[in-house]
Every structure is written in C-alpha cells, then in structure tokens.
Symmetry: C2
Subunit: 300 residues, 2 copies
C-alpha cells in the first residue's frame, strides 16, 4: 500500500500521464492525416510533435493546485499548445525569423513548403478555439470566458502584437522596460493565460486568480530571460533550434542589456517570486513549485 495519497504525491510522477492526456486530446481534435487534404493534416500534426509542452503542464499544475479535475483542463491544455505551435510555425517563416530548425527537426515550411506553413498555422489557430468549444467537461460560460482570455492573450494586444514589436525592434537598442513589455506580450501572455484558464476551470475567486496571475507573470518573464541566456550559452543541438540568433539579428536581449550574470540573477529572483505567489494560491501548491523548479533547471 502506498504511503502517500494521490493528492500529495509529486506532480513529477503525474507528468507522463498529463502528456498522454494532451496527446490524446490533440489527436482526437485534429482531423486524421488520412483525411483530405492529407498533406495539410499531416503537416498540422507534424507541427504539434516534440517540444516540452510546458504550457500544457502549467494548465494542469495550476488546475491541480486549485483542485480541478483533469478532464476540465484537457481542452485548455490542448488549446494553449495549439496556439503555441501555430505561432512557432509562422514565426519560423522566411518573412519572419526565417529558421530551418525547430524542436530538433526541419521547420514546417522546410519539411513541406511555405504555403503549407502559412495554412498550417492558420488551421492550428482555428483548432485551438475549436478545442475549447467541443469539450463536454466545461459549461458554456466557462468556455466563453476561456475563449475570451485566450483570444486576448494571443491576438494583437498579446502574442501576435509582441511578435510585431519584436520584428520592428531588430537593430534597435531597447530600454529594459521596452524589452520587458515586448516579452510580456510575445511570450508572457500565453504563459500567463495558462493560469487564467485553470482559474476559470476552477471558478476561482478573484484573490486566488490574482495570486495565480502573479505566478504566471513571473514564470513568463523568467522563461524569456532564460531563453535569451540559453541563446548565448547553449549550442544548436541542445536547443533543437538555431543558437546565437539574437546576436545575428542584432536584437536587444536581457544579457545584452544587463550582462549575462545579472540576467541569470534576475531570472532566479523571478522564480523565487513565482514560488512565493504559488504558496499563496493554495495549500496544494506543490505542482506549481515543482514546475517553477523544472523550468528554472531547463537547458533548452
């Protein structure tokens, strides 16, 4: 007999099961690759493969901390990963960041072609919103609130707006405030919304929602600082995407503005702040604490 009840066992032990749930939800939602147009459907699935699925795990971790059953989180976990996958496919296009490598494999427009790359991103975005309306586990009000939050996070005031600012900022030296604002949109908004979606699934109070959002904002910014640090310190094989791109594209980064060690220290302070916020969310903060540690220790 186990000495620990499921409620207090480590979140790490449940990660494989959550990733299996994510895979199953995505597989059920997306049309089979054998359905016409086959090449588009193959490429949509290709774009969803690989990756650490940190955003989905954040939905599940935040949901666990609020005592929400996993079936109420599946659609949200799937939706944020679909939005993330679509954004990577479009960001990698020649007219954007022009990258050949993603998650250790050729980018979609390299493995297929550029038109398929555009259409895959378009269809994956549609699928993200479809995921939230087709689930049976949420009531209509929750679905509407989730779609509103996800649309805000991913649209022109969120992720897409951040990418536009990022493209326009090449060869410019940003202030630290401008850089943080850019990344709060480009990367942070989608990380933050994982916490908001879990809060909606839980019908959480405003106070709990606020604490969760503090956690999400700190993780989001720390994550981006790490990305900037890893771009300088890690090789392409480990990253699974082209290293050294920020310098090559003459972008302002946290290491370029702060220096490498101060950037690392800033990220560490944000992880500490995230953990403090997690402890104020609920007495079951272990999943959020584990995830903060896990992200803090990542090497790609």
């Amino acid at each position: 007999m186990s000495l620990t009840s499921p409620e207090v066992s480590a979140f790490a032990d449940r990660v494989p099961a959550y990733l299996t749930r994510l895979e199953r939800t995505t597989d059920t939602l997306l049309p089979p690759a054998s359905i016409d147009p086959e090449r588009l459907h193959q490429a949509m699935r290709y774009a969803c493969e690989g990756g650490k699925h940190l955003r989905a795990l954040m939905v599940y971790a935040a949901g666990e901390a609020l005592g929400v059953k996993a079936e109420k989180l599946d659609a949200a976990a799937c939706a944020v990963e679909l939005i993330h996958a679509y954004s990577l496919v479009h960001d990698d296009l020649p007219a954007m960041d022009d990258d050949d490598l993603r998650r250790g494999r050729p980018t979609v427009h390299k493995a297929y072609d550029e038109a398929i790359g555009i259409l895959v991103g378009d269809a994956l975005q549609t699928s993200a919103f479809e995921a939230l309306v087709t689930t049976d586990a949420l009531d209509a009000e929750q679905k509407v609130r989730m779609i509103r939050a996800l649309a805000h996070a991913s649209g022109s005031l969120g992720m897409v707006g951040g990418q536009a600012v990022d493209m326009a900022s090449e060869n410019l030296t940003l202030t630290l405030a401008q850089l943080e604002s850019l990344h709060a949109r480009k990367t942070g908004a989608l990380i933050l919304v994982t916490c908001q979606l879990a809060g909606i699934a839980a019908n959480a109070s405003a106070a709990v929602q606020h604490a969760l959002e503090t956690y999400g904002k700190c993780i989001g910014l720390a994550f981006q600082i790490q990305d900037d640090v890893l771009d300088v310190t890690t090789d392409t094989a480990t990253l699974g995407k082209t290293a050294g791109k920020d310098v090559a594209q003459n972008k302002s980064t946290f290491p370029s503005l702060l220096g490498l060690d101060p950037a690392r220290q800033r990220a560490d302070a944000l992880f500490d702040e995230a953990r403090a916020a997690a402890r104020s969310v609920s007495g079951r903060a272990e999943p959020l604490l584990w995830l903060a540690d896990y992200i803090q220790q990542r090497d790609h």
Copy 2:
C-alpha cells in the same frame, strides 16, 4: 404615415444601415490604430476596408428572414467578415497566390510588408472569435454554437483546407466534382456559415436551418462560378483584383471545364434553387431573395 411597415419594406433600403452597424462593430472590436503596435493595428484596419461585405449582409438577411433583431446578428456579421479579410490577406501573400491588388488597392503585404501580412491575418482570425464572445446580445450557449460553426467552416475541413487543395491543384485538370468539392470548402463554407450563424441567433428549428443551408450552399457555389466567369470576362480595374489569374496559373475553373455559357447557366440555375429554398425558410424571405438577385447581378 408610411404605407409599408418596416417588416415589409425592401431589404435594399436597410443595407446602408447594416453596413454602418458592421463598421461600428468592427471599429469597436479592433484596437485603435493609435495603440501599440500601431503599424499592426493600422494594417489590420486597412485589411478590413473596402469590399462588398456580402457575407455580413447574408447574416443580416438570413436573420431578418427569421425575425432576429439586428443586435443579435452584429457579432456574427463582424466575425465572418474578419475571417474573410484574414483569408484574403494570407491568400495574397507571395508564397500563396502572390497578388499585388485587392479591393482596388495594394494588398497588405505590398502596402506594409510580408511579416505584417502574416501577423495581420493571424490577429484578424483571433479577432473573429473574440467578436463572438464579447457581444452582450447572445447567450453563452449561442456563442459556443456559433464559434463551433465558424471554426468548422474556416479550418482545415473548410476554408483553409480548400485553399490547400486549390494550391495543390495548379496545373492539374480537375473533374467537375473535384472542383465543386474544392470550392465548397474554399469559398462555400464561409458563405454557408453565414446562414448557420443566423439560424443559431434565431434558435431556429432543424427544418428551417436545413432550408437556410440549402440557400447558403446554392449561393456559395453560384458565387464561385461567377468568380471564375468574371476572372475571364472582366478587367482588373472593375474587379479591383488581378483579372485573368486562373488562366495564368493554369487552374481548373467552371468555364474551363464547362465552357463559358454553360457555366453561366449553371450559376443561374443555382440562384433559382437558392430562391426556392429561401421561400421555404419563412414568409419573410424578401431579404434573401433580394440578396440572391443582388449577387446574381454583380459585375465584380
């Protein structure tokens, strides 16, 4: 005192008011062009300007035929136009149809740049779903049903899938059935969904919904046949987009498969079928009949 009550006056008289409603709904939904990132927000608005807004008018016409108040139709009318606008921006990109002219003006990637073209399309798609969740005029169940219908119509089994098939069909001779299947997705699905959205706003019966869908399918196919005919018979200045593209891209079209006059006759028969379906929708079919006539007579 007027001899005609508002209910029986001609739909044509109300078109300007509907277009004003559409403009107001879109203007309220999209972030102002003065909001950061300004260039993206300017380009999003640029992409929504011009055009006949036939899809929005179909929502209003079908809604009128079902006795639905205009405020319950505004979000749906705006959403279908945003999906349509996003699809035009992406279809015009160099890696897709590579076109310089749209609605009589430079395409978005010509007026701005290619990265902005990609991001404008992405953000307009997000805005379409946002339109449906932010309205106060529909209940949550209606919003969820509308988003489900719009996602199905515009995703990989609908509009985006049709564009993928279209791209893959260049230099191939399709059968008539293949060409109709392609256009049922590429153009037809979004025209059909205008009727479905109005039906959802009306909480229409299955029988009424079915009749409306027959109308929508006939209009959608007739519309595409007309597009193919106009591409051959009309000049670029009148069309507001590059004429003669189908022949230049060696595409199968209704005139190329059927001949010009038989293609016209096929479209006319479909308009007649649409009118018959409209009369079976309700005793207030005049808006749908007017719209069938209006589309049948278009020269661009």
